[in-house]
């Protein structure tokens, strides 16, 4: 036995030496972990990280759209300062965000509260409310365009029965952006309702029962229990809906289909103006510079939200 042990202890270093590349189980786990993450990380790097870096650097070039690049330094950024249409598009975007984000929050939460009880009827209503999300935005835009058309659209017919009429919902500069917000809310609220439903279902029922025993009514329960415990969900909803409003594809699609930025640029959101400069005017460098500014604005908003919520951590004490 002793001999066997001795010979074993002599043989081990030699074997290790022979298989010098052999990894420890910890190292193997470490590598396996990274390999599992690798497809996602590589995908993100190629399809998100690299385009972002390229877009950022394009902002310092004049790009013809036909293979010609020339370095122009900060010229695109200086041009932005003197471009009234860029500032107009930022103004439109701010109005859009200010109207859309609170509306989505209120509608999403309100609907979730109304149909949170797990009944068959509520299941049906949830499906109905989520249904717009399953339809192509092009179809949504076209259908709403017909519903809102001047004189003969459904909405105009309904209100003309009340003796009011003659509105051009998408053709009047005072109404067009509001209508885009309304349709965006209609389209998106089902999604945010589901997120709020998830948040509501995470709140233990016992809290409400205890509050009820203590004499709290529904309003007090909402403000003292529901809202504080929904803070992580609210944070998520506010962040995602703000990003959606500033540069989401939904926002762009609706404007593109329904108004093309009109009437008179009143629905020309920043993301739409970036698109116009890039794809209609072949000003890819200028468009990239504007997109970079939008990214910085979004990052600032995100940082602000994280600061307000102490780094996205929520305590309930």
């Amino acid at each position: 036995m002793a001999n066997a042990l001795r010979s074993n202890s002599v043989a081990m270093p030699a074997a290790r030496k022979a298989a010098g590349f052999r990894l420890s189980s910890r190292q193997r786990e470490w590598i396996a972990g990274y390999l599992f993450v690798a497809p996602d990380a590589i995908g993100l790097l190629i399809f998100v990280g690299a385009p972002m870096l390229l877009s950022l650097s394009l902002g310092f070039f004049s790009v013809s759209g036909f293979g010609e690049y020339s370095f122009v330094g900060l010229a695109n950024y200086r041009r932005m300062l003197g471009d009234p249409l860029f500032w107009q598009s930022l103004k439109v975007t701010v109005f859009y965000v200010v109207m859309l984000v609170p509306a989505l929050y209120v509608c999403g939460l309100g609907l979730a509260l109304l149909i949170q009880a797990d009944t068959r009827f509520n299941g049906f209503v949830r499906t109905l409310l989520f249904m717009p999300q399953t339809v192509s935005l092009v179809v949504v835009g076209l259908v709403w365009q017909v519903l809102l058309i001047d004189k003969i659209g459904l909405l105009n017919r309904l209100i003309s029965a009340l003796g009011v009429g003659g509105f051009s919902w998408l053709g009047d500069p005072r109404l067009a952006l509001i209508m885009v917000v309304v349709i965006s809310v209609w389209f998106l609220m089902g999604f945010y309702m589901l997120i709020f439903l998830g948040g509501l279902q995470d709140i233990p029922r016992e809290y409400y029962e205890a509050a009820k025993i203590d004499g709290a009514g529904p309003v007090a329960s909402f403000y003292r229990i529901t809202l504080p415990l929904l803070r992580p969900t609210s944070f998520f909803v506010l962040l995602v809906s703000t990003v959606t409003a500033v540069c989401g594809s939904q926002t762009f699609d609706l404007v593109y289909i329904m108004t093309r930025g009109g009437p008179a640029n009143t629905t020309s959101l920043a993301i739409f103006y970036v698109y116009q400069q890039a794809f209609l005017f072949n000003e890819y460098g200028y468009a990239a510079a504007m997109a970079s500014v939008l990214v910085v604005v979004l990052m600032l908003i995100t940082v602000l939200l994280f600061m307000l919520t102490r780094g996205g951590r929520f305590t309930y004490d």
């Binding site: 790009v63 013809s64 759209g65 036909f66 293979g67 249409l85 365009q145 017909v146 809102l148 058309i149 001047d150 004189k151 003969i152 003309s160 009429g165 003659g166 051009s168 998408l170 053709g171 009047d172 500069p173 108004t259 093309r260 930025g261 009109g262 009437p263 008179a264 640029n265 009143t266 698109y275 116009q276 890039a278 794809f279 209609l280 005017f281 072949n282 000003e283 890819y284």
Partner: protein, 454 residues
Amino acid sequence: MSDKTKADAPNGAKDRPGPSRRTVLAGGAVAAGATALSFPYVSRGLAAESLKFWQFYAPGGGVATQSKWFEDMAKSWNDSHDVKVELVYVPNNAYMDGTKLPTAFASGAGPDLFIISPGDFLRYYNGGVLLDLTPFIDKAAQDDLFPGVIANRMVDGKIYGLPMEVEPMAMYYSVDAFNEAGLTEKDVPKTWEDLLTVGKKLTTDKRFGVLFETAPGYYQNFTWYPFLWQGGGDIQSKDGKSAFNSPAAAQALKFWQDAVNMGVSPRKVLGGGGWDVVPNLASGYCAMQNVGIWAISQLHENAPNFKYGVFKLPTPPGGKYVTVGGGWAFVANAKGKNPKAAGEFCAWALGSMSPDSIERVVDWCTKAKSDMPPRKSALEKGKEAYSKGFLKVFADDIYPGARAEPRVPPPVYKAISDAIQACQLNGQKPEEAAAAASQQIDAFLAGYKGAPIL
């Protein structure tokens, strides 16, 4: 060997059923490679060397005869040539103001052949991707093209696009709407003032009197130019500076503004836009519509029972009749994979003196579509079609006053578009809008180095 491998495997692995980790990784690599090869970027180099021809006349589209014309043309070429042509359909909206074509060129993957309107000509010419087609077109065929039609596809005497058609703008009206309002053919408006007065009579609580395009875009500018020209206005003066700050521009802007303010014209149009005659005029949304010659075939195919009339654009006080003649042209990509074959194709299809080529233009303009031909021989050959019906009205009354659609660089287009939109839909003073647009155009022209604006 396999026994030894099994014996050396880590604990438990030798008994584990199924493929080893190494096999899975190798399989994954093969699958990833296969997937990558299926991407167009990778597989493009392996694809057959056919010429890709991008256009928007898809089978099952708005007018069946038009897609068939394209298919017949491609088949005829493919039956007699080694280098084949493959038709690629791009939806209309994605083609005109969309991302597909610019993105393809930006990534160096533009189509070998495509169609463009004069509004987009400078963008692609200045980008250096339009092939000079002159060497492929016989002298006789070059002379056969109407000079006013080919001018805006030429730079320095060279031809960079072969037009398929000429599409003059006119006014269409619904006969039933006229009858309802107690109007007859004699009441067809001849002046701008008449148009608004008649439009007012035709306006009801369910119908607009007259429709102009309302969506911002190249098409809206195209339809507005005749009203600018009729009062003697223009975009650029002979000294190369902006001519937009003029009474004629302000007058034309005010005309469209008045139409909306009086409630005669809508702020939004139905269907695909102001070019789409069936959802607007034939559906009864409006009684008169500012639209081009192509509407004849649209109505013939999609609303055959609709009764309508056509008249030439009315004129302002002291003005002169002018309309605009748009139309699309075949162009070849100078940076494509076989520019020579692409150039030969364009000339074979639309720019040769062979009977087939002339007949093809006649067929497109009189059977597939309803257009005026860009070639003298085609007008002669199709004279029977142009001697009757609405094509005769266009040939005799409307087309003789046509001026080619101007080719303008995007910043000039945008300045004019903003002026039209601001006046038509946002109540801006026309004089102020014209002055602001003119300033922007001058600022751009000061540094512009591309081909001349026409």
